[in-house]
Symmetry: D2
Subunit: 313 residues, 4 copies
Amino acid sequence: MRITVGDIETGPLDAITDVPGVRVGHVTLVEGDAVRTGVTAIVPHGGNVFRKKVPAAIEVANGFGKLVGYTQVRELGELETAILLTNTLAVWDAASALVDHTLALSGNEDVRSVNPVVGETNDGWLNDIRSRPLRREHFVRALEQASGGPVQQGAVGAGTGTVALGWKGGIGTASRKVGPHVVGVLVQTNFGGTLTLPGGETFAPSLAEDGSCMIVIATDAPLHARQLGRLARRSFAGMARAGASFSHGSGDYAIAFATADGSLPDDALTPYFEAVADATQEAIYNSLLHAETMRGHAGHVAKAWRRAAPRKR
Amino acid sequence: MRITVGDIETGPLDAITDVPGVRVGHVTLVEGDAVRTGVTAIVPHGGNVFRKKVPAAIEVANGFGKLVGYTQVRELGELETAILLTNTLAVWDAASALVDHTLALSGNEDVRSVNPVVGETNDGWLNDIRSRPLRREHFVRALEQASGGPVQQGAVGAGTGTVALGWKGGIGTASRKVGPHVVGVLVQTNFGGTLTLPGGETFAPSLAEDGSCMIVIATDAPLHARQLGRLARRSFAGMARAGASFSHGSGDYAIAFATADGSLPDDALTPYFEAVADATQEAIYNSLLHAETMRGHAGHVAKAWRRAAPRKR
Amino acid sequence: MRITVGDIETGPLDAITDVPGVRVGHVTLVEGDAVRTGVTAIVPHGGNVFRKKVPAAIEVANGFGKLVGYTQVRELGELETAILLTNTLAVWDAASALVDHTLALSGNEDVRSVNPVVGETNDGWLNDIRSRPLRREHFVRALEQASGGPVQQGAVGAGTGTVALGWKGGIGTASRKVGPHVVGVLVQTNFGGTLTLPGGETFAPSLAEDGSCMIVIATDAPLHARQLGRLARRSFAGMARAGASFSHGSGDYAIAFATADGSLPDDALTPYFEAVADATQEAIYNSLLHAETMRGHAGHVAKAWRRAAPRKR
Amino acid sequence: MRITVGDIETGPLDAITDVPGVRVGHVTLVEGDAVRTGVTAIVPHGGNVFRKKVPAAIEVANGFGKLVGYTQVRELGELETAILLTNTLAVWDAASALVDHTLALSGNEDVRSVNPVVGETNDGWLNDIRSRPLRREHFVRALEQASGGPVQQGAVGAGTGTVALGWKGGIGTASRKVGPHVVGVLVQTNFGGTLTLPGGETFAPSLAEDGSCMIVIATDAPLHARQLGRLARRSFAGMARAGASFSHGSGDYAIAFATADGSLPDDALTPYFEAVADATQEAIYNSLLHAETMRGHAGHVAKAWRRAAPRKR
């Protein structure tokens, strides 16, 4: 099942992993009645990322979030680690684990400074977030298990305990082809608003929680950091169209990176901008479509949208 | 005729002038076959704005534009003149006229520094923009004629020659009530994309021109500059929902100001954020609904959307 | 011993703790031949900071650093934890400990989101930074031991293993009185350049290491976040005058917070701006003046400047 | 006469025109008792700049100024016109003239959008700035007379009526060689503070006026926009060392551009950073050294520093 957004052709997997070399890994932590969380790793390429950094930018729609690594990416325009996504109170432990992992890589024996990039949303409605159950091993495993190919979506990894648009949210992904290139998007959806489909159909939230959205964008188009910033900003249009309310508490960030060398002129970017907006919107739908109803912390239940609302109204 | 956006109550005029004290003035310049341009003034209050500055912020979705006055508003968080909107190649003459006007006001005899704020979109498809026909008198007249009450919309003032979403664009306005306050929005629409109604209906562009969007937001809620920046950013969600493509060439800016003293906590802002997104989206529709088909420079014709597509599909 | 900078009167302690309520705590970790590091806590007031947040801003001269907490401070203009300073590879563990500490405070039982602010410089020349020896207990102890009164300076806390201007650096502090208010500064010096005294005397570096500088500014003047940003930016002038080279690798940040409610007009700020520049410059000198020669990791030695160069040339 | 700053070798002219292709033009307007103003053009190369744009960045130490062109340079990272410097109330007329000039260039017949960059300081103490005496012809003449070779300094062009550090300010320039490249700086000095020489000697201001500083940086090093931003920020260290007080009212901006294609890694930039700080500091001294005592508006007199204080104290 898929909700069509726009008319740009998708990549073969309709996933961020359509960008050659990009790998995704999930660790899902579901324990007892109250632990519903996890971690998702997005790895730019198969080599040592610290030694082969990639151009990158981070754009902030609402900075009410704990994302780690912002200022160095803005200053130097590059990513020197994988990206981890997790829950709000786990970002620093995730960052610390990512640094350990980087220091331990062959070729990094003399490294004394690393800028890990970790994003988050707050899964504290379904997850006993104050118990801080994620440990170093979970973050490392997400990195080590990352692979290409189809990406598991829904209530997995960093999306395990999230709620979006009043339904069970999670991880979603989508991609678009632009000329010889691919733009891939992966989202961790946990934000409020009213789910709105491309045809205009809307679905009232089944619960009133809101939170944030993390958007990761990969491309093999040869874009440098300033251009990646321009690209990243367009992803928020996809959020808007899917129904985000952009509330006070929603810390919304987009991280974009490119895997290719070379350059494109800015006036060639419009098709990439449209692709990223469409792919973000579709990835949000995908995160909901693949999520199952989940019961968690304090008996809270987030319903799967596709079950609760099986037919279009 | 009106297209309903969201379910928040509008102000009595459904216009930026629902914010007490805010006044709008248009000068429309249509001459011969090729001049199709103008200027729109938005005046924060009836006093000497330089002597009674108002808190303000300017947010930039795409900085590919010529807006005048940005850095001082960012540094000091206030507006010390009215806002003028006009065409791309007229912003500096508009700013110069606005400064003359400010210097000449009673009480400003010792003023030696003024920060005029002027926004623009490029009406060069319908208007012979290179002829630069707007003169000091036009800018001053827009300021002096500004008044409260209903706002003329469509192909007037700074919207005279604009094209939006492939149809004749122009000036639009809308407002929303939030508790005891009003949020009012005025737009100058000139951007590309696919017109999309709240019910999901879309309208193919009748021509392929794109450009930019200027958004002016007024409120009598007691918001200070940082909060006005947060408010202003939400207006771009309204653009996204109306179908903006956020192309490379679309220089999109939102200017927000408040007319009240006092303060609100940030966690009270979500309703204001939703109001500004809805009002912006509706104001965009209003700009199209009120615009008549126009023929201009080089024989170019921009069709009125409501005539060309009278019935909903 | 003290090097006079400017002619503004200092506070009674010439320390950041001259700002009423502000407390400082150090934990110094010197173990074996190679561990030379630590943590310094700056606590805005004696209450629960999460429940009584303080207006704050962070300014970035060079974002090549790992500071944690930037985007939320920029978005919301406030600090909701103490500030920790430590070494580059310890910031995330410090942030995690600061969050644990915050979650455990009485009154915070329902808190599910905390924005810790942690700054760093890289002490990897004297300290075996890759061994990552700082543990949760060290960070918590710095917070718990924080007190008002005189501040220990030199090679203590987060300044234990730092090197500045080619000499042994460390923690320094200074303050200035501005009307009824105090501006206090605390620095963690680890940056390159040529030590330059107010009289113009310069001292060649004894070693070529460079790094970064963290600057923390406190005031009881009633400044809000935008104004604190303006204040913070002036601290970099103090760095410049002390001889900083602002090299590529020097990640330089200034964090400013205010402990008072109320407001001041922007045109009253110039004396505060001059105060912060002078206090920063003096605090840098103080960090050097109080530092003893230290031998550490890999047999590296950083000489105390006041010993090596006892007389003014 | 020259005040040595640092030990980096200067270019042959010690001027911004040491960067191959860069040209400077002044128009000085001294009329009657009260008009003391002018315009200075800095032209990146001898071709059509709109057709051969150059990478550029603008950094803002204090945005309390009227600089025109900021947001587009930030968005696209390039300059498409020459830079004009003038007085505060003339920037918009200067921008308008620069646009006329650009539209009229051969090859620009179809241009409908131009982003002029114009900076300013407020010469209203010596100049009857409210009379707004500069006209289109003055701005165009500065552009057309721009040439390579030695640059006239002191009270000329945009520096005609400025006051810096309590003495007669003006235009100053300097350059530094970095490997095979040159970094050139031109300043328009009009800011407050206490003149401080590299040896530490200070000179009390002869009058209390303050204002702003405009800094223009050119290089033939192959730097792209993000790197030029990093370079530009270092110029403020030169201002700090020369004695700037960075007051509330001092709108200080640095505009940097590069004339070469290609690229350098960021970790090669430190020598360029040091060069720009030194060259800015020296250029400030040069602006004072070359300025003659001037009497102007309202009988105000700004004394030449080198005359008033001929011998070093």
